[in-house]
């Protein structure tokens, strides 16, 4: 823990508050996430995990409080934030006319990788979508779509990874793979914030757990 404290703070959240109408989902929520550290948001359904994650990436505007990444205030449209934060939350869309491998190739190139073929092939292999490389997203199963969504986070530069229930729709082997992959990411100095209902995944990556109590 002492080691983690010495590392740079990647994500800082101060006094976050978010309400939908009269229902306050989250209030006075603060946390710091250092490089190489994983923080897991846990709690029952409706506790506000996804709401917090959406505020962290700028998809939702908090009513109060601030979220900064490397000292820069998070706004969804800021290219610096977009470059730094890789996100897999529930609003990821796909191009209907681009195949699986073309999505990864496009993202890698958009992030400035000039020759991303090796990296793309590697990640494709890792998420076990090589046979589906030429398939269009609408023909993928829900689990395969999840794997593609996760792959989009791994073919691009990143300092902070935000994942909303990444284990969803993955099979047992898939969850085990994800645990190993996230461990490797942490070892490489990445900061991770995730919401999860899968204790084995949290245990595998040694995540610090923050339990959310829910709406009032």
């Amino acid at each position: 823990m002492a080691d983690v404290a010495k590392k740079d703070v990647v994500l800082q959240v101060d006094n976050l508050k978010k309400a939908y109408g009269p229902v306050t989902i989250i209030e006075n929520f603060s946390m710091k996430v250092h490089a190489g550290e994983a923080v897991a948001l846990t709690g029952r359904n409706g506790a506000g995990k996804s709401t917090v994650l959406r505020c962290l990436v700028g998809a939702d505007r908090p009513d109060e409080g601030t979220v900064t990444v490397n000292g820069t205030k998070v706004t969804e449209t800021n290219p610096v934030i977009r470059r730094t934060v890789a996100t897999v939350i529930d609003d990821l869309d796909f191009f209907p006319d681009l195949s699986v491998v073309e999505h990864l190739d496009l993202l890698a190139r958009a992030h400035g990788l000039h020759n991303p073929d090796d990296l793309v092939d590697e990640v494709l292999e890792e998420v076990q979508l090589v046979p589906q490389a030429g398939q269009l997203p609408s023909t993928l199963s829900s689990g395969q779509r999840r794997r593609l969504a996760l792959a989009t986070a791994f073919v691009r530069p990143r300092q902070l990874l935000v994942l909303d229930e990444p284990e969803q729709r993955l099979d047992v082997e898939g969850v085990a793979w994800l645990g190993e992959r996230l461990k490797a990411e942490l070892a490489g100095g990445l900061a991770i914030v995730l919401a999860s209902h899968e204790p084995s995944l949290l245990q595998a990556i040694g995540a610090r757990e923050l339990r959310l109590s829910g709406a009032r």
Partner: protein, 542 residues
């Protein structure tokens, strides 16, 4: 051991099943059709007003077309119904192929088709309904086109007959093919009719320009309408009978896929989300295709987005062919003597032709998930996604320029005026397509307006006008003979708004900042007082 209650299986009466379903549906209805129409008086009133405007425009166009006396103009007028009816027939086949044409909902597929029912008895009504609907809509479209070209009442009736019977016959034909699960013949016929429509437009322009003598052809106009009507009637009888006999063998999947698509489209249509309707169709097409030969991209950064759009052109050449074919429209409109209306009409056609090239822009603007994965601000992303369509619009404009010069007949203009009109048309078509694709859907979380047919968000009322509004704004100065720079200034403003949007985040942030400043100022002013002023107590008499 089988449950004894399941061993005595009676004979299914499909008619009774249908009556039962109708009773359930009626039992759940909370208002009649007439009540719904009475409640929707706003919509009825709007339709009446818009209808009156359309009729007025048609009459005006008819007058313009009627006064054209040159040989070219007369030739163009005689051929336009040919091209239009061919277009209507091709469109009928596209719709028929898309949905079935005979459809069943997923629920019917699961609950009825799996049982020991006779599918023909369940589906026969739908076959007849489809044929009848095609007849009515085809006739209306045929009559509209004929009246637009200044035809007399008898000719309008004949072309209505051709459009109606032709469309109905093709629906019967497509249904017969659906019964044997065969696609290629319908696709082939659709291509032939589509090609005939384009060829007729080319003939029309050639005749109007005086490059070709169409005298003999135009004399055939009404005879051709009779031929189409006759063939349509024959198809209704022969193909209709075949389709009826084959109804029993239609695969369930072929029935329900069209039904699911239709119900999805209905949902989007009720919300007037035409871009969403297109999304559903594109998704259905992608699902059907399933697989592509993957290609590696080129370039990096924003260039990668642009280059991927270029690669898409080779993958799906059909929209490119359609775009090239639409260049004929400004020539035809000019040849018909409608020079003043050429910019708005051609820009609307260009809008429709450019939308298929904007898949990137659509996906990157409809939800923010994928956009957030890209390391650029939204304005940069939109601009990159507009580059390929903009280049295509420019090429289209160059191709259409001679039309505005009057080389194919109609009103001749000097090169500067023609270039201005062509440029404004191209820009209006491009910006309108961008608006159509990227406009935000109606916001149901904001204020809601009370109307006779229930509460609705204000944005919903303008959904119908998306894209058309930009065409009107940018091209109307040309129509009214105002200087071209007015159109260009409007286009620049429209581009800036479409590129960046109204940045809601920064606006909200600014609002919050101002609120804080105001509160701080209030606190500073009240800071001078040592204690809050004591409230005056008022004793009210009871």
């Amino acid at each position: 051991m089988m449950d004894p209650r399941l061993t005595e299986v009676g004979v299914v009466d499909e008619k009774q099943l249908k009556l039962l379903m109708r009773d359930w549906r009626r039992g759940r209805a909370d208002r009649s059709l007439w009540q719904a129409l009475s409640d929707g008086y706003v919509m009825v009133f709007s339709i009446v007003v818009i209808g009156a405007m359309m009729v007025s425009s048609i009459l005006q166009a008819q007058q313009t077309a009627s006064i054209c006396e040159t040989a070219g103009c007369v030739a163009a007028r005689g051929l336009l119904p040919w091209a239009s009816v061919a277009g209507i027939l091709a469109f009928t086949l596209v719709v028929a192929r898309l949905f079935g044409p005979v459809v069943a909902s997923s629920a019917e597929g699961f609950w009825l088709m799996d049982g020991p029912t006779d599918r023909r008895r369940i589906l026969a009504g739908r076959l007849v309904g489809g044929i009848a609907a095609a007849a009515v809509l085809g006739a209306a479209a045929g009559a509209l086109i004929a009246s637009l070209t200044g035809s007399g009442a008898s000719e309008i009736g004949i072309w209505a007959l051709a459009g109606g019977l032709g469309a109905a016959g093709l629906i019967a034909f497509a249904a017969a093919e659906q019964g044997v699960d065969r696609h290629w013949i319908v696709t082939g016929v659709q291509w032939i009719i589509g090609a005939a429509a384009i060829a007729t437009m080319v003939l029309l322009v050639s005749g109007a320009a005086g490059w070709m003598d169409l005298g003999g052809l135009t004399l055939l106009a009404v005879e051709l309408a009779y031929i189409i009507a006759g063939v349509g009637l024959l198809l209704i009888v022969v193909a209709g009978m075949l389709a009826f006999h084959r109804l029993r063998n239609i695969r369930r999947q072929r029935l329900t896929s069209g039904g699911s698509l239709l119900s999805g489209l209905q949902g989007a249509a009720f919300a007037l989300e035409f871009a969403l309707i297109r999304d559903i169709l594109v998704e259905a097409k992608a699902k059907k295709r399933g697989h592509v030969r993957p290609t590696r991209g080129t370039g990096s950064g924003l260039g990668a987005l642009v280059m991927r759009d270029v690669q898409r052109l080779w993958r799906q050449p059909m929209p490119l062919i359609t775009l090239v074919a639409t260049i004929i429209v400004p020539y035809a409109v000019q040849a018909l003597g409608l020079a003043m209306l050429n910019p708005p009409i051609s820009a609307l056609v260009l809008l429709a032709a450019l939308v298929p090239f904007m898949n990137s822009l659509r996906v990157l603007t409809r939800t923010k998930g994928l956009q957030r994965c890209l390391p650029f601000d939204p304005g940069q992303i939109k601009q990159a996604a507009m580059i390929v369509p903009a280049v295509l619009a420019l090429l289209w404009t160059i191709g259409a320029f001679p039309a505005f010069l009057g080389v194919a007949g109609g009103v001749a203009s000097d090169p500067v005026t023609a270039a201005s009109s062509a440029l404004v048309t191209g820009i209006a078509g491009l910006l309108a397509a961008v608006r159509w694709v990227s406009a935000k859907p109606a916001d149901y979380s904001g204020p809601i307006v009370a109307t006779g047919i229930g509460a609705m968000p204000p944005g919903l009322m303008f959904s119908l006008l998306r894209g058309v509004d930009i065409v009107a704004l940018v091209t109307l100065p040309i129509v009214f003979n105002w200087p071209v720079w007015i159109s260009l200034i409007i286009a620049v403003i429209a581009f800036m708004i479409l590129r960046s949007g109204l940045d809601r985040d920064s606006m909200l942030e600014q609002q919050a900042k101002q609120k804080k400043q105001l509160e701080a100022e209030k606190a500073r002013r009240s800071g001078g007082a040592a204690a809050p002023a004591k409230k005056i107590q008022v004793q009210r008499k009871r």
